[in-house]
Every structure is written in structure tokens, then in C-alpha cells.
């Protein structure tokens, strides 16, 4: 047993066995390191604990624990599907009538898979200390890559006829749908969120952007690569940007409120 082994044991958080304890007892280099944790601040007084009890038990009412991740993801997915079909019915589903059924199905399946990924990240953000099955950064890269691949593989048509005229209309419809979906999702997620406001707003923004993309996929039959990438997927960027701005705004308002409360 040497000092490096002690470092490894400490880094793994394992208790020291007899050999390690003997080394620590005899080594002038390791003794101080293991004694660092003996010093601590004076604890809380009974009065302070009583105050905290009031904080923790004030306005107490029964709550139901959130269901399992799988159920939550299914719930978000279900809400998403209902929203997209309803919004598609309102703005008309032109693509369903005109686009090739097989290609449209594949595109919708890929969007559905992206929604499942985004929902999984959202659920991870809602539950503190949840096991990280998927890092948010990886999820975003996968979603963007999958979406970009779709028009290139399914309809490699690069015409730019009516690029702005049709495009601005699509962006407007998609952004409005994304805003509505974001508002709907926020009512569900804000109630439980105790983590980072910004990250939560970003994931909700991503999900609502995907809702806009899904509605446009059902609505718009202008299937050419530049139009879909710029104007349809632009809705996803709009959703993420609005989510980030909203998250920053909420965080700033919360911080200001906290500072006023503190000064008061």
C-alpha cells in the first residue's frame, strides 16, 4: 500500500481497509489528507432548526409522486401527438393528401423518435437526481442530425421556387404552433421543476420546436430540401431561442425577487 493507492481509495469513496489504515497512521503525507474532514462549522441551533421546520411543513398537503420515466415520456408523447393532430386539422393537412405515404410515414416516425429523445431529456430535468440515460448535448446532436438527414434522403430536390413566399408562411404557422405547444408543456413542467430554469426552458423550447416541425410536415407539401431545412427546421431553432430567452428572463426575475427579499 502506498500514497497513490490511498489516493485511489479516497477518490472511489471507499472506506480504508486495515492495510490502508496502517499506511495512513504511519505516513506523514497521508495523515493530514484524511484528517481534513474532521474540522467543521458549528452546527445549527435548535431555534434555527425550528425555523426550518416551519419552512418545510408550512402549507403542507398530500402530493402524489410522479410516475416512472417511461410513463412520463409516454404522457408527453401522447400530449404531443394529440396537439400535432389537432393543430394539423386546424391549419389543414395538405402533405397527407399530396406527399407519398411511405416517405411521409418515415419522416413522421423520425420526428416521433426525436420527440421521445427530447421527452426523455425533459423528464431527466424534472426529476432531481435522476439517472442520466442521455446527456442533453448528445440528444440535441442526434435530433439535429436525424432531421437534417431526412429531406436529403427522402426527397433530394433542391429547387428554390417561391422560397421566401412559401417559406415565411411556413415559419409563421410553425412558430405559432411551437408557441402554443410550449405554453402547454410549461404548465406541465413548471409545476414540478426544481432544477435549472434555463435548461428546463431549453428542453421545453426544443420539444415545442419539434411540435412546430411536425405540424408543418403534416401541413406543407412543398417538399424540397432548401425549403424544409430553412423554414421548417428553422421553427426548431425559433423554439430553442424562445425557450432560452424565456428561461433567462424567468431566472433574472427570480434573482431580482430574491435580492429584493434579501434587502427587505
Amino acid at each position: 500500500m502506498n500514497c497513490n493507492d490511498i489516493d485511489d481509495l479516497l477518490a472511489r469513496g471507499e472506506p480504508l481497509d486495515t492495510g490502508a489504515a496502517e499506511h495512513v497512521a504511519s505516513c506523514p503525507k497521508c495523515g493530514p489528507l484524511t484528517n481534513l474532514w474532521k474540522t467543521s462549522a458549528e452546527g445549527l441551533s435548535a431555534e434555527e432548526i425550528e425555523k426550518l421546520r416551519h419552512v418545510a411543513t408550512g402549507h403542507l398537503h398530500p402530493v402524489r409522486a410522479l410516475p416512472r420515466d417511461r410513463t412520463l415520456v409516454s404522457l408527453i408523447f401522447g400530449l404531443f401527438a394529440v396537439f400535432c393532430i389537432s393543430a394539423g386539422a386546424v391549419v389543414t393537412m395538405g402533405a397527407v393528401r399530396r406527399a407519398p405515404a411511405m416517405k411521409l410515414s418515415i419522416f413522421l416516425c423520425v420526428i416521433a423518435a426525436c420527440v421521445v429523445l427530447a421527452a426523455l431529456v425533459t423528464v431527466q430535468e424534472i426529476i432531481p437526481g435522476a439517472k442520466r440515460r442521455l446527456q442533453p448535448g448528445i440528444a440535441v446532436v442526434l435530433i439535429v442530425a436525424a432531421l437534417l438527414a431526412m429531406p436529403l434522403l427522402l426527397f433530394p430536390n433542391f429547387t428554390t421556387a417561391n422560397f421566401f413566399r412559401w417559406g415565411i408562411g411556413c415559419l409563421r404557422v410553425g412558430s405559432l404552433c411551437a408557441l402554443a405547444a410550449g405554453a402547454l408543456l410549461l404548465t406541465f413542467t413548471a409545476k414540478y421543476s426544481s432544477g435549472s430554469v434555463l435548461r428546463m426552458a431549453l428542453t421545453v423550447g426544443c420539444l415545442s420546436g419539434l411540435a412546430g416541425v411536425a405540424v408543418l410536415t403534416l401541413h406543407c407539401s412543398a417538399w424540397n430540401v432548401p425549403h424544409v431545412i430553412v423554414w421548417h427546421f428553422g421553427v426548431l431553432a425559433v423554439g430553442i431561442a424562445i425557450g432560452a430567452s424565456f428561461g433567462l428572463l424567468v431566472r433574472k426575475v427570480k434573482d431580482r425577487f430574491w435580492m429584493r427579499l434579501r434587502n427587505f
Binding site: D7, L33, A41
Partner: protein, 186 residues
């Protein structure tokens, strides 16, 4: 020479904490009080070691209990409680740091002149060894969760939203830095 025991708090509380939390979810105020008794001291040590200022640590602890109260539905019965608790504490610390930094900036702006005393960290009262101050916040937090609060590597990873490997690496680097600061490289 006293030997390091890796999990000081765990042996006292595990087994009952999860049950108390479930009762707390069903609006049992007595269980809530017991949770406060069981967790507040170790959480206070956790916050104090990072902000090194008693009033700030008390503010953070109060903020933590408010958050825990609001988010109690997100605890799932059967899951270990400490990663959930420390994930909320982790976020409370980060938000608290940002607010204090912003608050310090405001105070400086209000005064109209840069006051070095206002920008400097708050006065120490009864700190953990000064050595801990030298560690980056993320490494210090990992060590405190492991050594003061008694969390396992997996639990620290869940609480901080990172992988077990990343936590182990942070702890390892922190110990190497501490060794250098103690003047006893391995």
C-alpha cells in the same frame, strides 16, 4: 492518527429517510420535521464549506427546504433519497452563487465606486480548512458530498448530473491538489 471513515452520516440515517419522505409526501408534518432534523445539519455543513459564511449558508439551507417542499412530488418511493436531496442542494448552491455574485455587482454599482471589500468573499467565521478554498467549486462539491455527507460515487454522479467516471476524476484531481497544497505529493 484517526482513520478516514468514508460515509459518516449514512449509517445514522439510511433506512428511515426514504420512509420519512414518503410520509412527508402524504402531508405528515411530523415526518417533515424529522426530515429537517435528520438532514439540516449535514446540509448546513455542505453549504457552509462552500460559501464559508454562516448567514449565507443559512439562507441557502432555507432556500433548499423551500425547493424541497415545492418539489416533493418528484421524489419516487423506492428510490434512494440522498441523491435526490443533494441534486436539489447542488442546484440551490449554483443559483445562490449566481445571485450573490449579481448582488455584489449591484452593490458595487450602487456605491458608484469599486469597493474591494464588497467584491471580496465574505469574512470567514469558522471555516473548513483553508485548503478547500483552493479547489475549484465542482471538485470541492464532489469531495464534500462524499466525505461530509457520505454519498457514494454513484449517488454523487446522480446528484450532480454527471457520470461516475467524471466524479471519480474530479475527486482524484482534488486529492492531488490537496496533496500539493499540504506539501506532500504522492
Amino acid at each position: 492518527m484517526p482513520v478516514d471513515t468514508a460515509r459518516p452520516a449514512r449509517s445514522r440515517v439510511t433506512g428511515t429517510l426514504e420512509t420519512l419522505m414518503m410520509r412527508y409526501q402524504s402531508a405528515d408534518a411530523d415526518a417533515g420535521g424529522q426530515l429537517v432534523d435528520a438532514l439540516s445539519q449535514q446540509l448546513f455543513q455542505f453549504f457552509f464549506a462552500q460559501v464559508r459564511n454562516r448567514p449565507d449558508a443559512e439562507d441557502l439551507l432555507q432556500d433548499f427546504w423551500l425547493r424541497m417542499h415545492n418539489a416533493r412530488a418528484t421524489y419516487r418511493p423506492g428510490e434512494p433519497l440522498l441523491p435526490w436531496v443533494y441534486a436539489i442542494a447542488h442546484r440551490t448552491r449554483i443559483d445562490g452563487y449566481r445571485r450573490r455574485r449579481r448582488s455584489n455587482l449591484h452593490e458595487v454599482a450602487d456605491d458608484g465606486a469599486l469597493d474591494s471589500a464588497a467584491a471580496a468573499p465574505a469574512k470567514q467565521e469558522q471555516p473548513l480548512p483553508d485548503l478547500l478554498k483552493e479547489l475549484p467549486a465542482s471538485q470541492r462539491e464532489v469531495l464534500l458530498m462524499m466525505k461530509v455527507s457520505g454519498l457514494t460515487l454513484d449517488e454523487v454522479a446522480r446528484a450532480t448530473g454527471s457520470s461516475v467516471g467524471a466524479v471519480k476524476q474530479k475527486a482524484h484531481r482534488a486529492y492531488q491538489t490537496l496533496r500539493k497544497l499540504l506539501g506532500c505529493p504522492a
